[in-house]
């Protein structure tokens, strides 16, 4: 069991957003969490990553046997949890390659492995960058500064490729992508999938699921998962919208 979330409740500024979420993710699985705006799906991903704006008010989240909520965000990352941000932040003055190397070496140390020097790391990152079909010039630029929406999302997947997390949560990674960028991002994610890791995609639209095929589709509404099914559930949502489920819930 990679992740086991039980009856998770969380609030922001005293307003309860998550009202009892249950989710189980095993290695080798791909999950999609779908839902309308405000259903709580982005909150769910941020709470798992440890965003300080959210307060966990109930429930548990175990990650490989560790209580996630006992861990700082950086400890969750070192344990193998990764969040691809919906709105990747620009950091002027910090180069992409410097950040990637710093993050990579932090994990190496955590795993009891040798840090890589800049030359060794460059060899590694030159391979990884192919995964997202990015030009090497992006490495020397400041993190996300002046990147287009699609470039920012590809940069998130590049970070995922370098850090090789056990569980990656992709928060609306498809939003704002044109069809070519979507294909590149999806190919990148697919190439990183193994029997030992897992992906949770949080998304609005079925479109991404044509490229990254989920084993499970969950529908979130009102801060709960109200329906779980296979990939055909996404097609049904695409055809019928969300209202029939909301009415049922």
């Amino acid at each position: 069991m990679l992740l086991e979330v039980k009856n998770l409740k969380a609030s922001v500024d005293g307003v309860e957003i998550l009202k009892g979420v249950d989710l189980t993710v095993r290695a080798g699985e791909v999950h999609a969490i779908m839902g309308i705006n405000g259903s709580g799906k982005s909150t769910f991903s941020k709470v798992l990553a440890g965003h300080p704006d959210y307060t966990v008010t109930g429930g548990t989240a175990m990650f490989e046997g560790k209580n996630l909520f006992d861990l700082e965000p950086e400890e969750r990352a070192r344990a193998g949890l990764f969040l691809a941000f919906q709105y990747p932040v620009e950091i002027p003055g910090v180069s992409n390659s410097a950040l990637l190397r710093l993050a990579y070496n932090t994990l190496q140390t955590e795993r009891g492995l040798e840090e890589l020097d800049p030359l060794e790391f460059d060899d590694l990152v030159q391979e990884k960058i192919k995964v997202v079909e990015m030009d090497a010039s992006f490495l020397s630029r400041s993190v996300n500064e002046g990147f287009s929406g699609g470039e920012k999302k590809r940069n998130e997947i590049l970070q995922m490729a370098v850090l090789e997390p056990k569980l990656a949560i992709l928060d609306e990674t498809d939003s704002g992508l044109d069809i070519d960028a979507l294909r590149i991002v999806a190919n990148g994610v697919n190439s990183l999938l193994t029997a030992d890791n897992a992906v949770v995609m949080v998304t609005h639209y079925q479109r991404l699921l044509n490229y990254i095929v989920p084993d499970y589709v969950h529908v979130m509404d009102g801060g709960r998962i109200v329906r779980t099914g296979g990939k055909e559930l996404a097609l049904e949502l695409e055809a019928r919208g969300y209202d029939w489920l909301r009415a049922a819930a």
């Binding site: 950086e74 990747p88 850090l163």
Partner: protein, 428 residues
């Protein structure tokens, strides 16, 4: 020892009399008469600057000069630079390296060049030793200084390195520098103020710069004094027609520091880029006062000053821009950007614009912010500790200034210092 301000200045005036011949002696004597014109905290220019920590000490003249080895100052050295080193205000030929100077370029101890016409003409001409007690003290007591005279172009950066050593009692040191860049000539000069072994001393520095027509100077000033030291620095720049003056002033060290930079565009079409950074923590105070006088037509000035204050530090920036009546077509932009790293730190920023003609383009602005919470969370979500993430973001904010320094070796060593040493363990 706890002195009053008056006692502190009287003690400073007991300093060692330096005898010079001729014109310089007259200047020294004249300066001495004004050494007690010390600043009042009621004076607008000194309103924000708490000098009480400075005034507590009795500072003594340096009477015997320490011998240092190159190894002891290694971390300050810049490879391939023309280097003139002063230890506690006295020139140290054995630490200096003037091999890369070429014909037309003089980098020499001021005391050796008093007969030089250019020295006599320009020394003390800008520095107001009859108005400012710190300038008066420097002018009266300076032991030696640096004279940089550039005719033509010099590729190697010129590194004027002032090292203060730890002494038995607090010492007063008076670094002095005169730079003259002849028409159509070009140079890069680094003024560097550093200390060793956690000494308590008062470094009171004065620099005068003359840029002749179409001269270009890249002027870097690094203040990295010891943490219990005091540093008061003044720099005057006179910019001729079509000259380009590019300054980067950095304040990292000292318990209390103040740097005053006063630039006058004397000739038409002069251009200047003034960048500044104060990065302080603990109980440090760093004050930067700049004044740009647009006194001739079609001048241009671009200024960016940043303060970063951690712990209970206090950073001050006062930037005055005066566009005089005849300075038509002036184009001036000033920006003050500030980063507060703790709830107890304090930043005062005071941009001032005085315009006396209609045909100008001037803009200025100031912002004060904190570490961006989203960026911090992003970095932590990539496995960086809170401290590491904050250092990285702080450094990134500082790097915009540091990276403009046209000496890569200095940029690299300053960046290393900030990332590795400066910000660790100084938060209080």
């Amino acid at each position: 020892m706890n002195l009053t301000k008056e006692q502190c200045f009287e003690q400073l005036l007991l300093g060692k009399t330096v005898n010079s011949k001729g014109w310089l002696n007259d200047v020294r004597v004249a300066a001495r008469a004004h050494a007690l014109n010390f600043p009042s905290e009621r004076h607008d220019d000194w309103r924000f600057t708490d000098l009480s920590a400075l005034f507590q000490h009795a500072f003594y003249p340096v009477d015997s000069f320490a011998k240092l080895s190159l190894g002891e100052i290694e971390k300050f050295l810049i490879p391939d630079a023309i280097r003139l080193v002063f230890v506690d205000g006295c020139v140290a030929p054995e630490l200096s390296d003037l091999k890369k100077t070429r014909a037309g370029v003089t980098v020499a101890p001021l005391a050796d060049r008093l007969g030089d016409k250019s020295v006599e003409t320009n020394f003390g001409r800008q520095a107001p030793y009859k108005q400012d007690s710190f300038v008066a003290l420097n002018t009266n007591f300076f032991e030696d200084g640096a004279f940089v005279h550039v005719s033509g172009e010099v590729a190697a950066p010129i590194h004027i390195l002032h090292i203060a050593t730890r002494r038995d009692s607090p010492s007063a040191i008076y670094p002095r520098c005169l730079m003259v860049v002849e028409p159509n000539s070009r140079a890069t000069v680094i003024e560097d103020y550093a200390g060793l072994d956690d000494g308590v001393y008062f470094s009171n520095a004065v620099t005068e710069v003359v840029l002749k027509d179409h001269a270009q100077l890249q002027h870097v000033r690094v203040q990295r004094e010891e943490k219990n030291a005091f540093h008061i620095g003044h720099c005057w720049v006179e910019a001729g027609r079509g000259s380009v003056y590019t300054a980067t002033s950095l304040a990292f060290g000292a318990r209390v520091s103040r740097h005053t930079l006063h630039v006058t565009q004397q000739g038409e079409g002069a251009e200047m880029h003034l960048d500044g950074l104060a990065l302080i923590a603990g109980r440090q105070i760093a004050d930067t006062h700049t004044q740009i006088d647009h006194a001739a037509p079609r001048g241009k000035s671009v200024q960016l000053h940043k303060c970063i204050a951690d712990g209970s530090a206090h950073a001050i920036f006062s930037g005055k821009i005066i566009v005089h009546e005849g300075a038509v077509g002036t184009d001036s932009a000033q920006s003050s950007r500030n980063l507060l790293l703790s709830g107890k730190a304090h930043i005062d920023t005071q941009p001032q614009l005085e315009i006396f003609n209609d045909d100008v383009k001037c803009k200025h602005g100031a912002t004060v912010g904190q570490i961006d919470a989203d960026a911090l969370f992003f970095l932590k979500s990539r496995g960086l500790t809170e401290e590491r993430a904050r250092n990285l973001l702080t450094h990134a904010f500082a790097a915009e200034i540091i990276d403009k320094i046209p000496v890569p070796a200095l940029v690299a060593s300053l960046n290393r210092t900030i990332l590795d040493e400066r910000m660790s363990g100084v938060r209080s």
